[in-house]
Symmetry: C2
Subunit: 203 residues, 2 copies
Amino acid sequence: MITISLEEIHSWERFYRANFINCLSGFKSVSLIGTKSKEGVPNLAVFSNIVHLGADPALVGFINRPKAAAPDTIRNIEDTAVYTINHIHSEMIQQAHQTSARYDSSVNEFDAVGLTMLWRNDCNAPFVTESRIQYSVKLANIIPIPANETWLVIGYIESVYLAKDLREKDGILPLEKYGTVTSLGLSSYYETKHIINLPYAKP
Amino acid sequence: MITISLEEIHSWERFYRANFINCLSGFKSVSLIGTKSKEGVPNLAVFSNIVHLGADPALVGFINRPKAAAPDTIRNIEDTAVYTINHIHSEMIQQAHQTSARYDSSVNEFDAVGLTMLWRNDCNAPFVTESRIQYSVKLANIIPIPANETWLVIGYIESVYLAKDLREKDGILPLEKYGTVTSLGLSSYYETKHIINLPYAKP
């Protein structure tokens, strides 16, 4: 096998290292997070470090980069305690990726990238009309990660919206049938193909 | 669209809800984590909630379920401060999934499921010989998640081992060429197909 030491990794150019380390942790859940500032400005941003935390209560987490680098989403969530998470399918990858540009806080990324806001009566954050799987989230906790000044933002899943009802009989949501993509590293997007579904394992 | 309220989700049978909520957060990074207890018993367990935290320093996180439900991996990491993360390709899915069975702490899952330990001189935890991408990790922090008694285990990436050197010129590691799979929910595994690689976005 090829061995790559930590010393070698440290010697690499910054973007080369970022790509490599970001890929190493595997394929990622990627979605668009919608928020609204307390001044009323909608915000939309792509996040690829989303993590399932538990089903009872239904919790989802995501990693927010240091506040100096990515201030808008986390500030809006601190201020309003509500956000939406919206899946990305292959026909909306370009617009979704474009939300990662450093727009000024006064810019509405929906307008800037060409996606459509969807407001629902019971939610103070915008959904993405084009998204086929959308859900609203209520803030639970924001936990600091001292090792690199990032943040784990934890929320309670509230309402879920599906473009079509493709649930299987055991509750599985076959994301490939909705076209939901997965991402790798900083810039790559993938479709998926089902291999196998395995039963609950017993010794 | 179909609307599913939190009240409806609460009314579901436990496994139906677990499947649905676990799928909702998207495709997941799935890998095998190798550890050794302070008594010297090797342990191997599949984890699907692995999250990239940052490249400088190179950090990776994973969610460990409550200690009562999944005690071995987190206890071994607390005791030894070292672990390995090993990618899963399509030919080893069955064995990888089988490590999720509740084996007694005295059982070596490598033997129980039919995978092969690989010991390297500078690491006190076992790698998985069959895995094509392997890396060693040194514990940084274990952060409690009070909302559901899970744990975010954070570690520093140390040495990386690749079966073949398929790195691209910008440091991207094309995991699909290694056959690395992604998982969905509690039980589904997927291969991936590259769609697009997008440049760094600017306003």
